[in-house]
Structures are given as structure tokens and as C-alpha cells.
């Protein structure tokens, strides 16, 4: 825990000492510098924030709310009329932020003048407080720069398509280069085209009361030894999984088994059983356990006493209609200038690509069309200013809450104050 401000010493108020003059400008400045005024503005902003989180904001949220509560249409219309469904973009909320910024500016300016009047530990606190407030002002200024000069737009591309402009809420946003979507890829945490680690093949030999579970490790032979077999005896059967397909399909003409897709819509394993000088193969389906497709020595089927079940995690997810857990969606972009590819980069969430002040973010994809991708393009010259503000805020708070108490403790130790 950092050392914190001592209780014994208070920071001087930025409104003190009283400044000369009694004109309207001085009156406004003294109001803006007043702590009571600043806290009132902060309280109003906080209240607006509460309203803005409790009432659906923006057309999408409002529409979703009305879909769930159709009877609330008239009430929602009234709230929309009052601007309460877009609180953070209303003139009065922006006005509150302006007044807050003005109050902060005056307080910060007066705090600066206090630096000269203070000394020792108190000076360190005032400096820390001053830096923090300058940081806050920079954040607000950076935000304003972003709103005034920033641009935002969406580019939607299919693989192979290119664009040199993005569509924003305030019209098209022209780019000084062209981007082409070379490839889009969706990755899952599990590979749906392969069995997962805890998938298993259940083997049962009812007459011998034998039951075992084998992992789906391809072409590994597992011995089947019933409980009544003498020790050291040869296993009567050996079982192995020859093949896994995620979406079983049988070619009508050739009789060949294929996977219709990489999606685990119908996971199945081809099981081989060797015993009694014969080998039998059959397909076992995770989602259709009562159905088996026999191949190989079809005439030997009845003589094989083993029964199989295939437990597949993919099949459970598919049966429940759940979505596969997505690991990443990636767009490989090519940047063209005058028709020549000058750069190529794969972007994904948390890994954007920046070029000449424009940053590309992976924002959307279509699960039914995996050649399509949506990218957000942002040009925000305010970001460095905001980040500068962030740094100053943390530096200032560290000075106030850590450095200054440490100095105070040093002073007390030297002065023999316990």
C-alpha cells in the first residue's frame, strides 16, 4: 500500500487567497474555481451517467428493449424526445463537460499559482495535484480533438475485394491508399475438424461384462481382454480407430466416405476390430449412436460381439445448438498504393494495423459467409494527447499519494516527530 497523505495537513483551497476585483469576469472565475461549484457539476455529470446507463442508449438498444417490452413504446418515445436515449451526445451533457473543463482549467491555473506560495511537503502535494489536473485537462482536450478532427468508418470486404474509402456516420472517409482483403480466417479454440482430447470410444462386450473407454488416437491398437481371460492370454480382440470425420457423408456413386465440411455436424469414427483371424471395420456416429455403418468384411459383423459408442465433445456442442468457442477472427490485408502492394498485414481483435495515421481494427465477420470481414478505420489525432493526459494523471497521483507522504515521513523522522 502506498503511503498516503497525512491527515494533519490540508491542501490549501485554490479559491484562496481572494483575488482582487469584483467584475463579472472575476465573479465567473471565482464561481468556476469554487470547490462547491466543481462538485455540483461533477454530481450532475454523475447523475446523467446513471441515467445514461439505466435507460437504453442509441437506436439499437432502444429497438432491442422495445422488442422485449412492446408496451413501453410510448414511454420510450417520451424519453427519446427528452434526449434521454442518447444522453452522452445531448447538448446539455456536452455543455456539462465544457463547464467541468472550464472549472478544471480555472482551478488548475490557480493551483499553479499556489505552487510558488507553498513550501516543503505541501509544495510536493500541490505540484502532484497540479500535474493530475493538467492530465485531466489533456484527456478532455484530446477527447475534443478526436470529436472535431477525428474520423471513423467501416469497411466491409469479401476476400479479393478492395476499398479506398470507409463509410462513416458522417459520410465517406477517403483513404490515401487502398486496402484489399487477401484472406479471412476464423479460428476456434478447438479444431472442429479433429477430435478433442477428451473424446472417447466406449467399447462394450455384454456377454463378458466387459466395458472400456479408449481415446481417439488414430491407428493405435487397444487390446480387449475380458475379465475372465487367463493372465497372459492373447487378447481375443484388438480395437483401433482408423479415421475421424467431422461431418460424415457418403458419396452415393463411389461409396466413399468424406467429410462434408470442417464443421462437426456429424462426427464419426471408423473403428477396426481384429480378432479370430478376421478384421471388421465399421463407422460409429456420435450423434446417432444406434446407427452403425459397416464396411470391410460385412459378413463378419454378426460374429463380432463388441458394441461401440463414440462420445464427442463437438457433438454435444452441436446437439445443444451452441456456438464453438472462437479463438480469433483474422483478416489479412494488402495495402496498395498506385496499384502496387506496399504492405501486407494480418489484423485481429487486439492487434490492429496502423498506416499513415489510419488504424484498422477487426470488428466483425459473418458466420454464414467466412469470406466476408468488417473493419473499423479510425483516425484520431486526439489519442496521443489523451495518452499524455493519462501519464500525467498517474504521475500526479503518485506524487500526491506516494512521494509526498514519503517526504512527510522523512521530515518527521528528521524532526523527531513520532
Amino acid at each position: 500500500m502506498p503511503q498516503v497523505m497525512s491527515d494533519q495537513i490540508q491542501l490549501p483551497s485554490p479559491t484562496l487567497p481572494a483575488r482582487g476585483g469584483s467584475g463579472p469576469v472575476e465573479f465567473v472565475l471565482s464561481r468556476l474555481a469554487s470547490l462547491k461549484f466543481a462538485l455540483t457539476v461533477v454530481a450532475l455529470i454523475a447523475l446523467a451517467c446513471v441515467v445514461g446507463t439505466l435507460i437504453p442508449q442509441g437506436p439499437q438498444q432502444v429497438a432491442a428493449y422495445l422488442e422485449r417490452h412492446p408496451g413501453a413504446t410510448s414511454g420510450m418515445n417520451l424519453l427519446s424526445l427528452l434526449g434521454l436515449t442518447r444522453v452522452f451526445y445531448t447538448w446539455w451533457f456536452v455543455g456539462l463537460l465544457f463547464v467541468f473543463a472550464a472549472s478544471l482549467t480555472v482551478c488548475t491555473a490557480r493551483r499553479f499559482s499556489m505552487i510558488r506560495r507553498s513550501a516543503g511537503v505541501q509544495r510536493a502535494r500541490v505540484i502532484g495535484s497540479f500535474i493530475t489536473h493538467v492530465g485531466l485537462l489533456l484527456v478532455l482536450a484530446g477527447g475534443a480533438v478526436g470529436v472535431i478532427w477525428g474520423q471513423k468508418g467501416i469497411i466491409q470486404l469479401h476476400e479479393g475485394e478492395s476499398a479506398s474509402q470507409a463509410e462513416g456516420q458522417e459520410g465517406s472517409m477517403l483513404l490515401p491508399f487502398t486496402v484489399r482483403l487477401a484472406k479471412f480466417a476464423l479460428e476456434y479454440h478447438e479444431n472442429p475438424a479433429a477430435p478433442v482430447g477428451n473424446d472417447k470410444l466406449l467399447v462394450q462386450w455384454s456377454a463378458k461384462k466387459f466395458r472400456a473407454e479408449f481415446p481417439i488416437d488414430l491407428k493405435v491398437e487397444h487390446p480387449v481382454i475380458p475379465p475372465d481371460a487367463p493372465a497372459g492370454a492373447e487378447p481375443p480382440f484388438k480395437v483401433s480407430v482408423l479415421r475421424y470425420v467431422s461431418d460424415f457423408s457418403l458419396d452415393g456413386s463411389s461409396g466413399e466416405v468424406k467429410s462434408r465440411s470442417d464443421k462437426p455436424n456429424n462426427p464419426a469414427v471408423q473403428v477396426s476390430v481384429t480378432g479370430g483371424g478376421r478384421t471388421n471395420t465399421q463407422w460409429v456416429f456420435a450423434r446417432f449412436p444406434d446407427f452403425s455403418d459397416h464396411g470391410g468384411m460385412a459378413d463378419a459383423t454378426d460374429s463380432m460381439p463388441l458394441q461401440f459408442r463414440f462420445e464427442s465433445a463437438h457433438a454435444v456442442v452441436a446437439a445443444a445448438g451452441r456456438q464453438w468457442s472462437i479463438k480469433a477472427f483474422k483478416s489479412t490485408l494488402e495495402v496498395l498504393e498506385q496499384g502496387v502492394v506496399v504492405d501486407s498485414r494480418t489484423i485481429m481483435v487486439n492487434s490492429p494495423y496502423s498506416r499513415r495515421g489510419y488504424t484498422f481494427y477487426q470488428v466483425n465477420y459473418d458466420p454464414n459467409d467466412l469470406t466476408w470481414s468488417a473493419l473499423q478505420v479510425v483516425k484520431d489525432p486526439g489519442v496521443p494527447v489523451v495518452y499524455g493526459g493519462f501519464i500525467l494523471i498517474m504521475v500526479g497521483l503518485t506524487v500526491v499519494f506516494c512521494v509526498s507522504p514519503w517526504l512527510d515521513a522523512q521530515r518527521r523522522t528528521k524532526g523527531g516527530i513520532s
Binding site: 454523475a46 445514461g52 446507463t53 487486439n350 490492429p352 481494427y361 484520431d380 493519462f390 498517474m394
Partner: protein, 264 residues
């Protein structure tokens, strides 16, 4: 893994029992035992979190179960750091209760390690969540102290003025600590959001409630250190601030939807 989780929770519950016995019997031995048990709970939880981190291959701070475990951990950390400097037996009981309840509540959620969605796959995850929760830990202890202060300050109380003064000092210190880390948490969250979505602030309910909480504690610090607010008023602001923390952490996850909806 589950054994470690249960041991941690049991240690906090045992600490609570010892702290209560200490309050009744006034024997320091039970206070020592309570603090040792909180330390044992913290160490067990640290090992648990470390193993989970190793097994998951990422910081274990991504859902309600993991965040509640982290919350219990930060409350214990802040309490024990405070304990090094000052001994308050009832605060041991209150902190142990909070940590134990957080763990018990965590056990009602799915504890299996889940793969991370793309937005959470970032190095910012550990830094952002850890700093926010250290802030929450500080605010939780400050709220407990504020309640203790209000009880000590009631009419007819025979609590010494020095004790009240000590509680006020701890209140300011824990809030300052929480404020520093909450600020860092909000700022790292903003940088992360900019890297993931191209906007550092989007008025998402979780962001907005973090800002409201920040405003409440900023108001406390200004009133406390510039206007010298002390006593019951300061204690009440601290309690209001923690209610805001609870809504930011808990209420937003379950009542509101937004960019942080995965947290539920």
C-alpha cells in the same frame, strides 16, 4: 485445485471464528490466530491463482468465478498490509467475512477453465483487472472501516477519541490507495479498449459506472483534504462510494449489458 480453493475459503471462515472469539474473550491469542489464518488463506489462494494461471495459460481474471476469487484475495492483501501498521481485531473479523463470502459466492459459479474470447486475449487483461481489483479491495476495507466508525461514533458510545481519529486516518488512507489503483485500472482499460476496438471510451455501462465511482471518491478526497471533512460525513461518502463499486462490479454484470457482459 479444488482442494486449494476449499482450503482458502475454510481458512477465511476459521479466521472469522477466531476473530469473533477474540472480540468476545479479549484474548490476543485469538487475534493472532485470526491474522495467521487470513495469511494462510491468502497464501493458499495465491498458490491456487498461480496454478490456475499456469493451467489456463492466461491470467485467471476473466469471469465471475475468477474475479470473485481475486476480490477475496485483494481484500485479504489490503487488510494484511494494513494489519502490519495497526491492530484492529474487529476489522480482521469483517475482512475475513468479506473474503469468505466472496469465496463462497464464487463457488456458486462455473469454475471450469474456459477459453478466452478474442477481445480478452490481451496482455492488458491481467494489468487492467488486477489494478481495478486492488482498488476495489482498498474501497472494501474503507467501507468496513466507515461502518466501524459510524458504530464507534454513535451517541453514548464510549469509544476513545483517539480510536475514532485512527479510524478516520485509515479511512482516508484506504480510499487514497483504492483511488490510485482504480484510476490506473480505468486508464489501462481505456488503452486496452483503444487497442481492441479503436475507441478508448465508449460510454459502456461498466466504463460509465467506473467513472461514477471515480467521481464519488474524487469528491471524497477533495472534501477530505481541501475542506477538512471528517467524521460521519466522510464515512457516509465512503459507504456510498463502495455501493457504487458494488454496482460497477456486480450490478452492471447482471443488470446491464455492454462490452463487459462476458464478465457475468
Amino acid at each position: 485445485m479444488n482442494l486449494l480453493f476449499n482450503l482458502g475459503m475454510a481458512a477465511y471462515f476459521a479466521a472469522l471464528v477466531c476473530a469473533v472469539v477474540c472480540l468476545i474473550s479479549k484474548r490476543k491469542l485469538f487475534d493472532l490466530l485470526a491474522n495467521l489464518l487470513i495469511l494462510a488463506g491468502l497464501l493458499t489462494q495465491t498458490v491456487y491463482l498461480g496454478l490456475r494461471w499456469q493451467q489456463a495459460g492466461r491470467a485467471p481474471f476473466s469471469n465471475m468465478f475468477e474475479s470473485l476469487v481475486l476480490f477475496a484475495w485483494t481484500v485479504a492483501v489490503v487488510y494484511l498490509v494494513l494489519r502490519i501498521r495497526i491492530r484492529i481485531p474487529w476489522l480482521a473479523a469483517a475482512s475475513a467475512t468479506l473474503s469468505a463470502l466472496a469465496m463462497a459466492h464464487a463457488s456458486t459459479f462455473e469454475s471450469a477453465i474456459q477459453p478466452l474470447m478474442p477481445a480478452l486475449q490481451s496482455n492488458w487483461l491481467s494489468f487492467h483487472v488486477m489494478t481495478c481489483f486492488l482498488g476495489y479491495g482498498g474501497f472494501a476495507i474503507s467501507a468496513l472501516v466507515a461502518v466501524g466508525f459510524l458504530v464507534a461514533d454513535r451517541k453514548g458510545s464510549n469509544v476513545l477519541p483517539e480510536t475514532r481519529e485512527t479510524l478516520e486516518t485509515i479511512l482516508s488512507q484506504t480510499i487514497s490507495f483504492g483511488f490510485l489503483f482504480l484510476t490506473l485500472g480505468i486508464l489501462t482499460g481505456a488503452v486496452w479498449a483503444n487497442s481492441a476496438w479503436g475507441t478508448y471510451w465508449s460510454w459502456d455501462p461498466k466504463e460509465t459506472w467506473s467513472l461514477i465511482t471515480w467521481f464519488v471518491y474524487a469528491a471524497f478526497l477533495h472534501c477530505r483534504f481541501m475542506r477538512g471533512w471528517r467524521g460521519r460525513r466522510a464515512a457516509w461518502i465512503s459507504i456510498i462510494g463502495f455501493l457504487s463499486v458494488l454496482f460497477t462490479y456486480y450490478g452492471v454484470n447482471f443488470l446491464l449489458t455492454g462490452l463487459h457482459s462476458y464478465a457475468s
